[in-house]
Amino acid sequence: MKPMTKENAIDIDNSLHINNEMTKPDVTSMKIPADQVKIKAEDVRVRYGDKEALFGINLDIPKSKVTSFIGPSGCGKSTFLRCINRMNDTIDNCSVSGQIHMDGVDILSKQVDTVLLRAKIGMVFQKPNPFPKSIYDNVAYGPRLHGLATSKSEMDEVVETSLEKVGLLKEVKDRLLEPGTGLSGGQQQRLCIARAIAVDPEILLMDEPCSALDPIATAKIEELIDELRGSYTIVIVTHSMQQAARVSQQTAFFHLGNLVEYGETEQIFTSPEDERTKGYITGRFG
């Protein structure tokens, strides 16, 4: 994080203060037609023990588009992303409140089975994390858990189409039984994407998927995200504003646990309405 100037630090503190006092936070947010909304978050609050991480997020994510979350480190964008597939459940002292509707169902409610939910919402992590198994078994892991293939040939097909979709098939066709950990970083990350789409999810969450990769591998992943956009709703957290500008149609700017501004990517990057967004995008802080 670059050091903040004194003026805007005070400015941000003030606005944070106001946000907490007002019932409806001052968010510049866009309206998405109701029939295109895939995920609708209402007043999502997250706290880790005593520390509050998200102060009431309201956000609509459209279907079959790429939505990116940007903001300085610790602003809560990854925390919000992990709310969508309930990954925060695995953290002991984390508590989430509010509602996230996906196709009309509140996925934060206790009745929702996280196993089925996560089958519908795939996730790709910051660092490639292939299992210490063969490439084949990595991709087949999800389908096996959910019983998606009844025969060996069906499983072969699932694995092949998943690898094909991420453009990895021709690179690894001859070594499907070799360990997935032996691939290069970029290949590993594409393997992880293949693993996520093998269970045929509706949504793909990506938590800084390129931050551990070199520029060439990054370009490949970005290209892939663009190709996958038609079939999946993609939400991507990124530190690179260029990446957000390149791959996403909507951009949300988070700051200090608040959603500051959310709109069309082009609008956010060319004419942000909020001073803080402008400051972050032009590199004055963050």
Partner: protein
């Protein structure tokens, strides 16, 4: 006693040397210590080392070799001693001489050559001590002077002190390694002596073990038999039973502690489990012999099964309980070393906790777990106290855990406890057993450590 006084004197001189070296170094540059190559204290250490180390080395060498030199000088004067006498006789004569020198009376007091030898001994002792005192103090003072004279602004005292420190550390590790080699060598030599009396193949493949050696020719059982197969079979049987208890319980509790338990439960449960490791094995031993074994026999009786009161099962079960914390804490470490990102990857695909443990965490941690289990096996094989108290002494060749069997460690204890002739195969057999045991545990440990090391490479 004298050696202690000398050591203190040398240390005192070294301390003086330290301050002398320091002040001399400072004075050579007229108080501007930036002109010195090293810090003043390095010059102090430099002089202290010159003063102390040669003198202390002399002290140590003297303590090591003085008795031998004095003894040979004294013995050469004893005319009544046959030059080809056995070592036992020589040592007897020597102790007589020492007794005479100390008390003025005793065996050999009527033999003039013995009295002369005793006087010679006392004389040598006092001369030796005096000359040692002179030599040591002279060494340290000469060292002090040489060290102090060498001090100048250009002397690289820091580097020299570092070199000395490296040598001291090296010497310490050499001592540790030499001790190990010495122990193995003594094991090896005694075992070779044993194999001189009992053929190697008889020992390794013989099916009967009864290490009775007759003291007189006409005694019953004049011929002992040294077939070690029943002993190693017993060792393996008990270790196997122990591992059957320790591996599942230890591994499952490690999985619970690392994956399922809340931090509070873990903070309480893990130390509780590790208390098991702190119980002395003797306590486990009488727990096995007095509680578990009778219990098993009672249960057996009520089912109409004949159970020996010193069954392999009792010893094995208790040994397994003893090894649980060993397995669980090693497994816990490797399971916790599996990166969180792998768990996240599995959860994000909709894996449940148990599916994640079974399909991702255990395969990833398997090499480490195998390593831990192998270390536990070598621990079980070498365990002594429990089996001495709870397993039997009779060498049965059986796979029935309800019968009494014996283990290599138990046999070694019984062979060596009490008054024993040191050159009979009965006593030497203990060394042969020890050698085989050592080889087995060594192999297990080497393989286990390799496996563990290989596993570590993967995630670091």
């Amino acid at each position: 006693m004298q050696t202690t006084i000398f050591t203190f004197t040398v240390l005192l001189l070294a301390l003086i040397g330290y301050y002398m070296g320091r002040s001399r170094a400072v004075s050579t540059v007229g108080g501007d210590i930036r002109k010195l190559h090293s810090l003043p204290r390095h010059y102090g250490y430099f002089v202290a080392i010159w003063c102390g180390v040669p003198a202390l080395v002399l002290c140590v060498l003297w303590t090591l070799f003085e008795p031998q030199i004095v003894n040979s000088l004294v013995l050469s004067g004893v005319s009544s001693l046959d030059p080809d006498a056995s070592s036992a006789v020589v040592s007897r004569v020597l102790s007589d001489i020492k007794f005479l020198a100390l008390n003025g009376t005793g065996r050999g007091a009527d033999d003039p050559s013995m009295i002369a030898a005793a006087a010679h001994y006392s004389h040598l002792k006092s001369v030796g001590t005096a000359s040692l005192a002179v030599a040591v103090i002279a060494f340290s003072i000469i060292g002090l002077v040489i060290g102090r004279r060498r001090i100048g602004a250009e002397l690289k005292a820091r580097n020299q002190v570092e070199d000395i420190i490296r040598l001291v550390l090296l010497a310490s590790s050499i001592v540790a390694i030499l001790t190990t080699i010495g122990i193995v060598a003594s094991l090896l030599f005694e075992a070779i002596r044993f194999f001189g009396k009992v053929p190697f193949t008889d020992f390794l493949f013989g099916l009967e073990w009864s290490p009775q050696i007759a003291l007189r020719k006409d005694q019953v059982a004049s011929q002992g038999s040294f077939g070690a197969v029943p002993i190693f079979a017993g060792t393996l049987l008990i270790s196997f039973i122990a591992m059957c208890v320790a591996v599942p319980v230890g591994l499952l509790s490690a999985i619970y502690m690392s994956e399922y338990a809340t931090p509070k439960v873990r903070a309480f449960g893990k130390p509780m489990l590790e208390i098991l490791a702190g119980i002395p094995t003797v306590v486990y031993g009488f727990f096995a012999a007095l509680v578990v074994a009778p219990h098993i026999r009672n249960i057996g009786d009520s089912w109409g099964i004949d159970v020996s009161s010193e069954s392999a099962l009792a010893a094995g079960l208790v040994m397994g309980v003893m090894i649980i914390p060993f397995v669980s804490s090693l497994s816990d470490d490797v399971i916790r070393a599996v990166p969180q990102s792998l768990r996240d990857g599995s959860y994000a695909l909709g894996g449940t906790k148990s599916e994640t443990v079974l399909n991702v965490i255990l395969p990833a941690a398997l090499p480490g777990i195998v390593g831990g289990v192998m270390l536990a096996i070598s621990r079980a094989i070498g365990e002594t106290m429990i089996v001495v108290m709870a397993a039997g002494l009779t060498a049965n060749l059986t796979a029935n855990p309800l019968q009494a069997v014996t283990t290599a460690t138990v046999q070694m204890v019984t062979l060596l406890v009490g008054d024993q002739e040191f050159d009979s195969p009965k006593t030497l057999a203990a060394f042969a057993l020890g050698l085989v045991l050592f080889c087995v545990t060594l192999c297990l440990n080497v393989v286990a450590l390799r496996v563990v090391a290989k596993y570590r490479e993967k995630y670091d």
